[in-house]
Each structure stands twice: as C-alpha cells, then as structure tokens.
Symmetry: D2
Subunit: 343 residues, 4 copies
C-alpha cells in the first residue's frame, strides 16, 4: 500500500482527493493537514466521507509527512514552494495540485502570481503532470506539477493539431466555460448561489493565470511559440469545463477525426467522440475522462474542437492520482474507474 | 459472476443500475432490453458509459432473460406483472424496481394505480425489498419489490419509533421534498428546466401513490394501522429526497438519539448523524446511504426526524443491487461503496 | 413626490427596494447610505440599475436623512435601534426591514437576537407592518416593523383559521422552504453555489429567530397563545418561500375554500387559488403577491395550507413599499404591479 | 389604446408578451389564440398573470384579429406565412416573432427551415425589426420580422466595427451561450431539468438556423458579405444569452470604447459598459436591455466583444413591443422600463 499524505485538505480539490483515495485499492491515507481545522474529523467537515475514513486534520508535521510515500499539496499558491523541498529530501515524492511548479520560467510565474517564486532550486526537476504529454517523465519523477483545469481541457483539445504541425501561423482561440467549483471553497460574494446561478459571464478577459501555462504546453507540442486568446466564463453549475477551441486551416485536407482517434487510441482517459458529437460536461461529472469532438464548421471550414472535463477530477484530483499511479508503477487507471453521474 | 439482465433500461433507474453494475465485481451485464432503442449501443444513449460497456439494447427475449441469474425490471408499472411470472419459472430471480409488487393488497394497488393487477398469483411470494426491515426474507426470495423512493426515506425515519411502540395514537406527518429525477426521463412540460428550476411546489396533496406503500410499511413496523399525512414537493435539483417527519409524543422520555443509534448500529447503509445534525441531500448524492438525524423541537417537544437519500440509489437502483447482494449471498455492500459527490 | 432615504442599501433587500422604487410613480430616491461603499455609484455595484439611477452611496448623515419623508432601514439587526429615534424626532417616518421592532416583548427579542434591545422607548409605537393584519394602524404609523419573510408566509396561511377560532387546542406545524437569498449577500460558505445548489437541508431545527415573531402574530389572530413547530429548509433556488402548514381539526365542517376566499376577497396581494391548486414559488417571483391554496388531506382529514411568496418582495422590500403607500395615503398597490417572471 | 391580438400565446414568447403588455399603458389586450387551449383562461395556464388579465384563449378568428390594431405572432415557423397576408389586408399591422420573414432570400429560408416559403408575396415589405439598425423603416412598416435571440446579441455586438469598416477580410467568430428557454416550452427530453442542468454543451455546430440571419444583418452593416463561425451552447439557466465575439484587427488603432459609446449613445436599450467590464446575463434578466463590453486581449490584441441580452425580452417579446412602440408613434421605451431581477 502506498502511504499517502495530503497537505491542505479542506478545499474542493482536497475533498475530491479523499473521495478518490478512500476507495483506491493501493493507497492508504495516512495524514491530512489543516492548520485551521486541527483535530476535526474529516468526515465531520465533509459528511459524504462518513463511514469511509476516521482521519482527523492535523497541523503539518515534517516527520509525519516524511513517513509517507507521497504527499499531495492541495494548497494555495506558494505553500508547496516552502514545504516541498524538505519533503523531497526525505525521499518522499510530491504531487502538487497548486500552480507552484507548473510554469518552467520562474520570472513568468512571478509576473502572473504576484509573489516571489520560493523554490527555484527544485523547479527544474518538476515534471508537468499531463500524462498524455509527459507520461515517461512522470514515471520517473519525484515532483509533479498537476496541470490546471483549463490547461488540461485546452491542451488535450489542441495537441493533435499542433503535434502534427497542421496549423499555419495564427492566433488560436480558447473560449472556455467553467463551473463555479473552479473558484474554490473560499467564501467570496461572486461565488454565492444568488450571484452565480441563473447567470453567465466572462471574466479575466484582460488575462488569466492559466494563459501562460496553456501557452507553455501548446508550445511544447508545436515546437514553437503559439499565440492564444483565452477567454474564461463562469457558468451556473458546480462542476465541469467546456473548452470550445477555434483554429483556422484553410487548405488543410487531413481527416481530423482519424487524426484525433489515432492520437488518443491508447489513452485511457481521453475519449474521442464519434464525428458530429457534442460532448456535454455532465458526461464526465465525477469521472477522470476528457471527451473530445472535432468539427469543421460547414460555412467557414474553421476547425472547432469541443473538449470537456470535470475540473475537479481530470482537471485536478483525478489527474493527480493518475500521476501517482504512474509514479508507483501501478496500472494508470487504478482507482479511477468512476462512471460519471448522469443524470 | 452473476449474470444480469435488465428489462427497460432507458430511464433514469435503468442508467443508474448500469452505473452501479458495470463496476460491480461479482456481476456481469448480459442483456438489456428496450423496444424503442433496439440495436442502439447503451453508451450512445448514455455517454457516461462509454468505455464501460459495449452492450446494445435488444427487444425482450424470453430465452435470453431466462439465461440470466437475475433480471431487474426498470419499467413502467404493469410490465413486470406480465413478464415476471415466466422468468421466475425458468429459475431466474426477479428484482422489480416498479411498483408492481410493492403493495400486498392487490385491490388497494388497483385503486391507486388505476389498472388491473396482472400478477395476483405471484404477488404473495414477492418480498418487500427494504433490507432494514426484511433482510432475512430477502435472502431467500425469488421475487423482490424494490421500495419506492419516498417510502424508503420515510420508513427508515419512522421505524425506530414505531417498532418500539413509542408513539401514542396519532396521525404522523411526512413532509417530503424530491429532486426532479423522481419524475423520470419522460418528456413532460412540468419537468422542463424552465418549469422546475428556480421554483418549488407541493403536488399530489390529495393523495400520492406512495401513501399506501408507506402506510403498509409503517403498519408492519408498528404492528397496527398508522395514519399518515404525506405531502410531496418538487424541488429544483436533480437528485435527492429530504423527508421531514413529525410525530408528537408529549410524555416520552426516551433518549431518541440512543434509540436510533442502537436500531441502526449494524446497518451498513443507514447513518444516524450526531445529535443536532441537519443532513443535506448532497451528502448522499450518488451513494446508497440514508442519513438520519432525530430532533426534539425545543419549543413544543415535537419529534422531528430528518431523513435523506439519493432517490436513484438508496431510493431505487442502489437498493435493488443491495437486494441482489443479499439474494446471492454476497457481502451486502459489494459494489456499493460510492462516496457521495461533494461538491 | 415622497422623498425617500435608504440606510444600508448594499444587501439584497436594499437592491430590491431600489428595483421597486426607481419605477414608483410617487417616490423619489434621495439618499442611500453605506459606510463601506461610500462614493460608489449604486449602478456600479448593481448593474441592473444602470440607466435607472445615478445615485451614489454616502455615509449616513443625520440632516440628509431628516430631510426625507421616509427612511427605509435595510440593515443588520441593531442599526435601526440606534438611528430610528433621532430620525423620527425630525418628523421623518421610518420603515425598518430588520427585526429590530418586530417583537413587542423586548426581553424576548434580546433572548433570540443575543444583544441588548437598543430602543425600548420607541418600541411601543412601532406597528407590525403586515397590512392584512394591521392595515389601519399602519396608515397612522410613524414607525413600521416590516415582517420577516417566513412570518409573512406562515401568518397569511394560518390567519383565516385562527381568526375564526376553528382549531382545537394543538401544536401547529410550519414546514418552510426558502431560497438562498434569504441568507443575504454576506460571503458565507454555506451560501456558495457549490454548497447550496443541488441539495436541500433543514436548518435551525432547535429554534429559529422567526419563531417568536410568528407565534406573536398567530397569537394576535387567535386571541390566545398558539404552539408552533417551525422547521425551515434551505432550498437550491435564489428566491421564494414555500410554507406548508399543518393543522388538525377532526370535526371541522367549515368550507375552508370559501372561508379563505372571503377572508382575502379585498386583499390586493393575497391570492387564494382555486380548490385543489398547488401554487409554485415561481408564480410570485419578483411580485408582491402571496398565493395560497387550502387543502384537506383525503386520507387523514388534516388541513394542509400551501402559501408562497417571494421572500425579497412580499417577504421584505415589496411589503415595505406597500406599507409606505398606506402611510402616505396612496393606493396600496402603487408601484407594485409587477408580473412574476415566468419562466 | 392600441388594440392588440396575439396568435399562439401558449409558449414562452407568448407569456412574455403578456407579462409586458398587461402593464403597457398604451396597449389593450384584445384577443389571444390557441387551438389546443381554447376556452382556458390565460391565467390558469400561467398563474403569474392571475389578477392581471381575465382573457381566455380562443381559436384564431379572422374577424377578431382584423379588428385589432396589431397582431403579434408567437407561433412555430410557417404559421405567420399562412395568416399574415389576410390580416395585413384588413389594415391591421403584424409583428412576427417567428423566423418566417427574417430572411430576405426566400430560397435561403427554405434551405434552412426545410419547408416551402408560404408568403413570398409579402416578404419584400417585411422589415427586419432590429431598431438599432432599421429604426426608420420600422416606423413606417406594416409587417415586422422580430430578430432571433442569437442574431440580436451578435449583431449589436459587431455593428460598430462593421459599420465603420474597421475589420480586414476575415472570418468572425460568435461563441454564444443560451439559457434553456431559447428551446421553447415543448416537452423535449433535452430540455428536462435532469438533462440540461449541471451541464453545458455545444449544439448545432454543423450549422444553426440563426447563422444565415446573422450573416444577413452583418452584411447589411458591413456593406458586403461577412464570414461567420457561429457556435451556440446550451447552458444551465432559464434566461439569458451571452455572445462572446472575436475579431482580429492587427493594425487597428481606433479607440474601441469611444467608438462603441458613440455608436450607441442614443440607443435606449443598448448599454455600453465601462472599459474592462464583464457584463453578466443576470444584469438584463427580465429587461429589454443589451449590455456590451468591448475588450482587446492583452496578449494577442484580438478584439473580444461581450454582449448579453435576455433572450425572451430583447431577444424576442420585449423587442417586439419596442417595434410596436415605434410603429405607433409612441416613445420607444413605453412599457419597457423593467429593472432586471437581481438577484
């Protein structure tokens, strides 16, 4: 059994990690930390876990974390910077769900996150945990940066086009729609039911922190810099991201359906839907799947890719466990066979 | 492996059965029938099942059903009446999720369901599939009537009081709130998002079909006839039933918390919450759990019991699988360890 | 034109007052206060008001408020206690939407609200602003306590029975369901979309602050003390209260439908629905109407009254304006002719 | 008073017309037709109208309609084709909310709507009822084609750019998100709460009927053919359209904010938000306003326009009444001063 620790388990990615891990056949939850909830039973805070775990929140303790085989960080940005280094030294592996190690250029990170980068020394060895892009590196990694939710949906949607160099020079567009859980469990007015339900709005049009992360990944796939207009929208639902991706390739004659099916044929968590499909976010609710449909708009020939994930699963905690499975030599799908809840 | 057939798998209880059974370690889906969708892949109708099953809908075929170890009926009322008898003759067991065999008094059934009872011959051997009330009978049964959703939440909430004969002569009250999935997948105006969301209303105040079923169960527990005012409400959510139960016992001195905890101490799917709790329906979303809290109203001393279930799981398909586990000698919880999706 | 001031206009009852008053033909918004938002244009905070008002929030100023004909308080409990007295001295009338003057027994108020009552001197002259109960007093009042949302729905539902002394000695039951806007615009975790949507739960079963207010009003109607079990529920919608009321009157032969229709025949904002109706909260969304249906449960003879309001209109700001109309000799319905938004 | 008839008043645009017209100071509802609901009181079908109208549905009667000053069609496609001509002959004006007269090219109409165009004779005199584009023609029109919901949001968002010829040759993109009421009140599985809530999906990617209508309007504004990729999405809310519009103008130096403000300075129902704004659909819920924000994406310079309307008001019934006001010489805003319901 893999001994697992979680730092900062009170937010939505934390409880989602717990939902997955309490039923994971090869993992054993050993410690979960929270300064604010010290001593509280996890199941008292999250009653869905009653009967599944007796664990209590404890204050972060270096020795207890060092005794784990792997520690997940489900913390605000900056926390993993200060703690991950010491944990790694003890031989324990680290899977960070925050943005701390996602961007390889520390200066760029500081620009977008507005704080000093606190772990430039270990940044180089961090592996970007998108298995569809970095599987081999993940297997040997000690430190994983789990991709953001938008970046996961957008990158998986664009990869086949970029890896095959099918797009002429252009600015790509990612029009993305997210459920409210992407904003976390913090008590902010904008996330109140009375503010966010029965409404839809764009936000961060001037620039969202996921933009540099997405561009980094698209650049890796394309082998060159890729321009991107990324517009996120807040939508009145709990879970789900729908990325609608636009690219223009006037003369392109490739069979896009075949291209996507081939690219993802062996990916357990990317499902290329039949031609003409419109994947709904609810088809992945609670599951680690990304469903993709690729279209060409009849009137204009523009390529339109539809990519959906559950932001808390494939966009966060499920992908984190997928990384753990790879790092520990397990079958990649272990403990991740959830069927989406529908309806 | 238990060979499983499903008759009428296109509705919400059907797809929920599939969600549970595709990951059940001891069950093997063998046949699923639908006249209207013959030949269609189940996963094309319900994309959440893509990658989990390749089964196609077929027209009901007596031989194929007879070759199963157990057949679930997820059909409109009346269908099981006409088919269950023949299936039983072949030695295959039947678990009926419709109301066909729930009420022991066939005349009463006809009054409420407005059609002739089509299987009076096998009605006597049907066992009411509420494990908390009929576990031993279920183990030996060939024909199970899975309880309705409201009846499950209401009976589990009242049982400890009635079994111990703690209530004086009185009319009990069950004020129940259900998500819209209880109305099924039929295309009716009242279930449209634009009609049912952002609103709440009572319905069937004059009398709901679950009333005689609930009274039958409460009567079994009490050993006498029990009067009940049952008022269901339609609430703007997909899943969940919240039963708020009222009983008046002026002189009662019993420790209700202890009573409930003792009654359900060994029940794997009834969770008595700590004193003072307010269970939320989302704490059981997608799980087979019933969570109960028992209160006494400070100002009046009235007993108020709060009982929540997921109407599609403990209120239908999960309970059906719980029955299957019991009938086939498996651990009762096999394949039913889902953690509720929260948020 | 009536010169209107609003103290504390940043919450939901404040913006709802504005929605109603900007189109009120006899009212002129003169001042709106908020310490935290001083200088901010109201329409920048609430874009639905763009084009309807250019008013800015200002800090409360005694002279400016004294120059108004009427001042509404849409403030947390306690604020009106400290300010209302001085405003009244200047000849300006006060309509308080908080709970500060609702309960005539100041000791009782202190018990439920956990703070000293700060205005015992003017409490006696405060009129409880439920026009259907206190119309004549309201017309001559200088200080109005606008009823709470639950109390409005519950009292209007029970009045005809109690005023006619039709119920034997008993504990009444009010099972109430509220939208989330009843919890206000404060940033609390429990009101987040991800916590409150797709779920339903009871709360404050041990005792809710509206209980003594409701019992006071029922007592006025009955001419004696009335026992009440009041259980509120949080439901996944923005607006609306549905009160399901239970009373038991075994031998009662009165024609309840006729009784209710007669009682409310001349009430512009109480609509007794036809016999057998199930009013939905959406039928009053955005309007000042209370819709009521009265039933007798077929199996038990129990009286079941269904009463729905929009908690922000008839349950708060609309009722406040209805009071203003009465106090200033206007037609009671002036500016309150909104048709509910449906769908 | 303008005598008003409505043909086909049982759908969502019909009831929304009623909501607006019952409070319109210059209009008098005279007749409302529905074959299926003949004799039913409108307020029995739509209880929000109880107390506002006593009208009953009647079968369409040529004389009664001819006695009106104006007849609105809120009917499925094709109905206005067969009835409008005769009504016009009687001197009664017609405002059609269906698509029957929106597209000037009858062959194109037939291609998209899959049925013969039944009124080619009167098509030439139909005026496209977008006041911001066709105000003068509307004033003198006898027959109005009220624009579709998506076309209203998209055209208003692009007009300032196209009228000023600021965009180089390119394919524009309109990524649109609609509430479910856009699908109407028909009982279809896809519009059920259990199917459409807690989910988001694109639809009609291959081609949506509003595409030719939008291109027609953009072409009028630009003075030339305009290429458009239009992708609609179904979102889990009742009302609202959010159009996110993309255009690329690399060298453009114009002050877009000033351009938009100037273009719409005198438009009563187009609100250009301050620079940097993100209009939410709820800011126009129940109102006839279109709110627009214009951005340039920092990283790419791409123009991003955000345009929101209530699909049932500015996208249908409100715009229809705005047309009526213009046709009858009233102030354009008469009866259309609703403040959006927020929260």
């Amino acid at each position: 059994m893999i001994k697992v620790g979680i730092v900062g388990g009170t937010g939505y990615t934390g409880v989602e990690l717990l939902r997955i891990l309490v039923n994971h056949p090869e993992a054993e939850l050993s410690v979960i930390t929270s300064r604010s909830e010290e001593g509280v039973r996890v199941a008292d805070m999250y009653p869905n876990l009653r009967g599944h775990t007796d664990l209590r929140f404890s204050v972060p303790d270096a020795d207890k974390l060092a005794a784990c085989d792997v520690v997940f960080f489900a913390t605000p940005h900056g926390v993993a910077h200060s703690l991950a280094g010491d944990i790694l030294k003890s031989g324990t592996r680290v899977i960070d769900l925050s943005a701390d190690f996602r961007i390889k250029d520390a200066d760029e990170w500081e620009k977008w996150y507005g704080q000093p980068h606190g772990a430039r020394d270990i940044l180089p060895e961090a592996v970007y945990g998108l298995p569809e892009l970095k599987r081999d590196e993940i297997k040997g990694a000690r430190l994983i940066a789990v991709p953001g939710c938008y970046p996961t949906a957008v990158q998986l949607g664009f990869l086949p086009l970029l890896e095959n160099n099918l797009l002429p020079e252009q600015v790509l567009i990612a029009d993305c729609k997210s459920g409210v859980s992407g904003a976390g469990r913090g008590a902010s007015v904008g996330s109140l039911l009375c503010e966010a339900s029965e409404s839809l709005m764009a936000y961060a049009v001037k620039g969202h922190r996921h933009l540099p992360e997405i561009r980094q990944g698209l650049g890796w796939a394309a082998g060159k810099d890729v321009g991107l207009t990324f517009i996120p929208h807040l939508t009145p639902m709990i879970r789900g991201i729908h990325a609608t991706l636009y690219a223009f390739a006037p003369g392109l004659e490739a069979d896009l359906q075949a291209l996507y099916e081939a690219r993802y044929a062996n990916e357990p968590f990317v499902d290329v839907m039949p031609a003409g499909s419109h994947p709904a976010t609810r088809s992945v609710k609670g599951s680690n799947m990304c469903r993709i449909a690729v279209h060409r708009h009849a009137a204009t020939g523009q390529i339109v890719v539809l990519s959906v994930i559950d932001n808390l699963v494939k966009g966060a905690s499920g992908q984190a466990v997928q990384n753990m499975n790879l790092m520990f030599g397990l079958d990649e799908t272990t403990g991740l066979n959830h069927v989406a809840l529908m309806p």
